[in-house]
Amino acid sequence: MTDYPMRQIIDGDGALVDDRYKDQMTPELVVEMYKKMVFARLFDRKCVNLQRQGRIGTYVPFEGQEASQVGSALALREDDWMFPTYRDHGATLTFGHSLKNILMYWNGRYEGAVPPEGKRIFPPAVPIASQLLHATGAAWAEKKKGTDRIAIVYFGDGATSEGDFHEGLNFASVFQIPVIFFNQNNGYAISVPTTRQMHSKTIAQKAVAYDMEGIRVDGNDVCAVYFAVKEAAEKARRGAGPTLIEAVTWRYGAHTTSDDPSKYRDQSETELRRKTVDPVGRMEKYLKRHGYWDERLKAYETEATAEIEAAVKAMESEPAADIRHLFDYVFAESPWPIEDQKADYHRLKGGVR
């Protein structure tokens, strides 16, 4: 069995343990990584609070997975494709999605799945693993068109049990498609631990069956994630095919705001990880060790919070959901049953029979 050691560049204490990328780790880049992670975390916490206050619906938190999401998103080119799940808005907001729209998604609004003009971001996948095939198809299209755009697709440990996971990897392998399968192994699929999800020791090793490169990285190390994705992206761009990346991380909170993790796991492990291998904490230590830390960075939280609050305000200032979103976007041209039903809806609303 091929061994898949976990790649790490910065350890939990903020020490550089692999200096291969030292020259590329410019102050601008590492500060940017840190700020994006702080931003993602603040946004995530704000969303949990909004849900608690009944200002949005059920929410899916990602706290603890910021390094995986920010690192992977920063490694992409502006014009690449992103196929997230419902837990990957840390990645989509880093990649340029609209904060207001992300909030609207969690408020049950169709506008929420619409990316800013020109951004190739698919709606969050809800049925598990379905998106692996879409990413493979979209990247296949880029290959057929002769561009060097690539696609990245996000999925969790649970998704590897679905048929669509295997079909996606196989198609990408058979047709040598420029797609990155970016797995965040956060230890649990709702309540089911990875050890119960699979008998395999790693997710990376599943690449072997498709003769694909499999990489395992510390998913709480933003630099390890960034460079793994960057290399996989470069490989895909030059036509050398797909890569499976397993980013080993941990979800601190619940599966969703409707879930109680204390039912199925001991939260002390979460607390320990928060203290020892937190993505944001270790980057802060790294920045301090290298003298990149300054008062402006400390003040960044205030700046980020203001931006998030502005987005919340924008979301809450939106008029009520538009009934046309229910009827007018099923087909390019609505066939008569939908037109009739829409007319009937309006007749009843108008109180005329």
Binding site: G108, R109, Y110, V126, P127, E162, I190, D259, A320, F327
Partner: protein, 333 residues
């Protein structure tokens, strides 16, 4: 002498847990399997406490794979077990569709009865609880259409327990749809221990002479409230809970049609090829019922659009007003 059966007031979801508990206790071949059904007790707590009581060999947390859950349940069922397979939300059943439509429903026929699939597929369905996207589907029509599987939908705690026990005992595949919106909507008297509510039998929950309203699942409260509202106008509606969607209770439907001659069918599933269409055809096919009709059959259904994100779900769902509107139309007809 009738033995006094102890009853308690419990919710629909507690009734389901009790049904599984009762059958797990009585029949060692009964298994529960699905995503998060074990340690977590189910995302809605439908299997709460069963893992602790029966252990991981019988209450099985499976890998996250709907086709895997149903496909392996078929094998387990063919080989001596009675699996209760939970699909976490009805909207996630589609990866297993192939296993149901090409296998579960055909094994008895393909082997002339040598192998059978006594399996229950449980799934919470329906909108109205502000759930995330694709968690609110009501695609029962796909399975009513499909030969070889019975489709059951309770609307209250008493029926939920009795119907689930009957489904577990049924020798063939049963799709058991649970109205998520009614899981904790109220408590009803439910007997302790074993009892069944027969599959294939509807129930008249309100007697009336002017109009018949046929509905099921989460639309029952809507149908009843609309009927109550019309009662104030002097219109007496009969309200029938279909309970089993395949096979339909032809006799009860026929009797009520012959009594009132005016029919409204209410379901939250999409309109085209929905159950209302089949009931309309059934009435047409039953000459005495057809000839009793005094007005065109009316239906209030979900629209022919995907169940929307929750900001629009109330617009999608049949409302009390929409049913009342049809009652008034028929009363004046």
């Amino acid at each position: 002498m009738k033995t006094a059966v102890k009853t308690r007031e419990i919710t629909l979801i507690q009734a389901l847990t009790e049904a599984m508990d009762t059958m797990l206790e009585r029949d060692p071949s009964v298994l529960v399997l699905g995503e998060d059904v074990g340690v977590n007790g189910g995302v809605f707590r439908a299997t709460d406490g069963l893992y602790e009581k029966y252990g991981e060999d019988r209450i099985i947390d499976t890998p996250l794979a709907e086709s895997g859950i149903i496909g392996t349940s078929i094998g387990l069922a063919m080989n001596g077990f009675k699996p209760i397979a939970e699909i976490q939300f009805f909207g996630f059943i589609y990866p297993a569709f192939n296993q149901i439509v090409t296998q579960a429903t055909r094994i008895r026929g393909r082997t002339l009865g040598r192998f059978t699939v006594p399996m229950v597929i449980r799934a919470p369905y329906g909108a109205g609880v502000r759930a995330p996207e694709i968690h609110s589907d009501s695609m029962e029509a796909l399975f009513i259409h499909m030969p070889g599987i019975k489709v059951v939908v309770p609307s209250n705690p008493y029926d939920a327990k009795g119907l689930l026990i009957a489904s577990i005992e049924d020798p063939d595949p049963v799709l058991f749809l649970e109205p998520m919106k009614l899981y904790r909507a109220g408590r009803k008297e439910v007997p302790e221990g074993y009892y069944t509510v027969p599959i294939g039998k509807a129930a008249t929950v309100k007697e009336g002479t002017d109009i018949t309203i046929l509905s099921y699942g989460a639309m029952m409260p809507i149908a009843l409230k609309a009927a109550e509202k019309a009662e104030k106008d002097g219109i007496r509606s009969e309200v029938i809970d279909l309970r089993t969607l395949f096979p339909l209770d032809r006799e009860l439907i026929q009797a009520s049609v012959e009594k009132t001659g005016k029919i409204i069918i209410v379901h939250e599933g999409h309109r085209t090829n929905g159950l209302a269409a089949e009931i309309t055809a059934l009435i047409n096919d039953t000459e005495t019922a057809f000839l009793s009709l005094k007005a065109p059959i009316q239906r209030v259904t979900g629209f022919d659009v995907p169940v929307p994100m929750f900001s629009l779900e109330e617009a999608y769902l049949p409302s009390i007003e929409a049913v009342y509107d049809k009652i008034r139309f028929l009363a004046e007809y």
